[in-house]
Symmetry: C2
Subunit: 272 residues, 2 copies
């Protein structure tokens, strides 16, 4: 059971922390920042890290593809290119395996989901966000998340989500739709509707445990004015994102990649 998730967003939006939080593992060790005198990178890098983890009793080979440098330069015109190239290189690699005589052991390294981190400005999508999503939405399942959502009050989250969805619609960007299973039991239908209604998820991540004022120990962030709890659904949508990505929709994400995104890319490639 293999799953590959790509993580995209400018530096400091809590991406590594969120991945660690999502999979309850220190997949990313605490970052050692470059010293002030170090030369800053000039291009987007593609780095990937794989771990065997267990989810719901199922063993999962999880690969996370990181894209450091995206959005971090003064000029980000070409930021999306190495990322698109990497996604298509993985399609190429899969196509090449499919074309072999012996197809018993195909390894699926295609990107099944791309978590795109939106800065919690409170205004609208940035031009870079729109540019990236327009370029990649036909090649990968886009799951936009509002990063560091503890920056926003409840009202700000509501209006920001609305605005983000309008921007996405305005630019004809297709993000991953969480399908709703009408034929399932009521509880499952309700759950999938709940998940769908929260998109884009406003997330908070934390790989540290802190004590709440009322004496509980939780994953969260401790401020002088209170403790944000990652797993508290009144505080953020982390639980919903986790349900969507790791529990409910992992299979859909892989299927949609295989049956639609890859197939469309393949037929375009073979017609060209």
């Amino acid at each position: 059971f293999q799953f590959t998730a790509m993580v995209v967003g400018e530096s400091g939006l809590g991406k590594s922390t969120l991945i660690n939080t999502l999979f309850n593992t220190q997949l990313y060790p605490r970052k050692v920042p470059l010293p002030p005198s170090a030369e800053r990178p000039k291009t987007v890098a593609i780095e990937s890290i794989t771990a065997d983890i267990e989810e719901n009793g199922v063993r999962l080979r999880l690969t996370v593809v990181d894209t450091p440098g995206f959005g971090d330069f003064v000029d980000n015109d070409e930021s999306w290119k190495p990322i698109l190239e990497n996604i298509e290189a993985r399609f190429d690699e899969y196509l090449e395996q499919e074309n072999r005589v012996n197809r018993q052991k195909i390894v699926d390294n295609r990107v099944h989901a791309c978590l795109y981190f939106i800065q919690p400005t409170g205004h609208s999508l940035k031009q870079l966000d729109i540019e990236f999503m327009r370029r990649l939405h036909t090649k990968v399942n886009l799951i936009p998340v509002i990063a560091k959502a503890d920056t926003l009050t409840d009202e700000e989250i509501v209006s920001f989500k609305q605005r983000v969805l309008s921007d996405i619609a305005e630019h004809n960007i297709r993000i991953f739709q969480a399908p709703i299973y009408e034929n399932e039991d009521e509880e499952t239908v309700a759950e999938t509707e709940e998940i769908a209604s929260k998109i884009p998820f406003a997330v908070v991540g934390s790989d540290q445990e802190v004590d709440t004022p009322d004496g509980r120990t939780v994953r969260g962030r401790s401020y002088p004015w209170g403790v944000v709890e990652v797993d508290n659904e009144d505080h953020c949508d982390f639980v919903k994102l986790r349900q969507m990505l790791v529990r409910t929709y992992m299979e859909e994400l892989r299927e949609h990649t295989n049956l639609h995104l890859y197939e469309n890319w393949r037929s375009e490639k073979l017609h060209a």
Copy 2:
């Protein structure tokens, strides 16, 4: 008594809110965001708004120069240019008045302070931050502030401030030094040292009043996990910024602009 402050930083860092909070006035009306279909601007604009306000019983003509668009494009290579040009145009305008026969009524529209808003990434300065500050530090008093500081825990603020100051030192950027008056009374010396020790200020802004759990009404932001209070020095450095800018150092900022920044520009210009 005229004072001109310029505000620079990417969209959504709470700049307009902070200006309203600093001067306790709705100088900036609540922003009407451009609709999703509106064409996004392509260059940095310079807009200025002036208000007559009263501070400590002193009447002050305050001008705030806004720089919408800075840092908001995919390619921000030229972001700093219109800003530098505006500062130098104001120097030109002052020089022209100085050269007149009748100099009774010189209007000082030069920029006396530039509040530069740093995104609270928790990592280091961005390449854009360094680029901007390097280009402008010899022309205007730079006061960097860490925006939306309620995004950071107390430990994160300490390490981020350290890192920001190292980046600034590394690139030989001169930011406004809050001079410490050794000859003043102990209380004033202590106060100025306190202010200096907090730079760069980690600020939170709010033009709304909210109720705290213990029943007080304060300027702040209300989250499900607690209320950040703008005027509470355990929550952020807003009070220190206000003291520095509006009370203690307004005169120094104008003097330093007049005696050093402007004079250096003037002699370079007249030698050229």
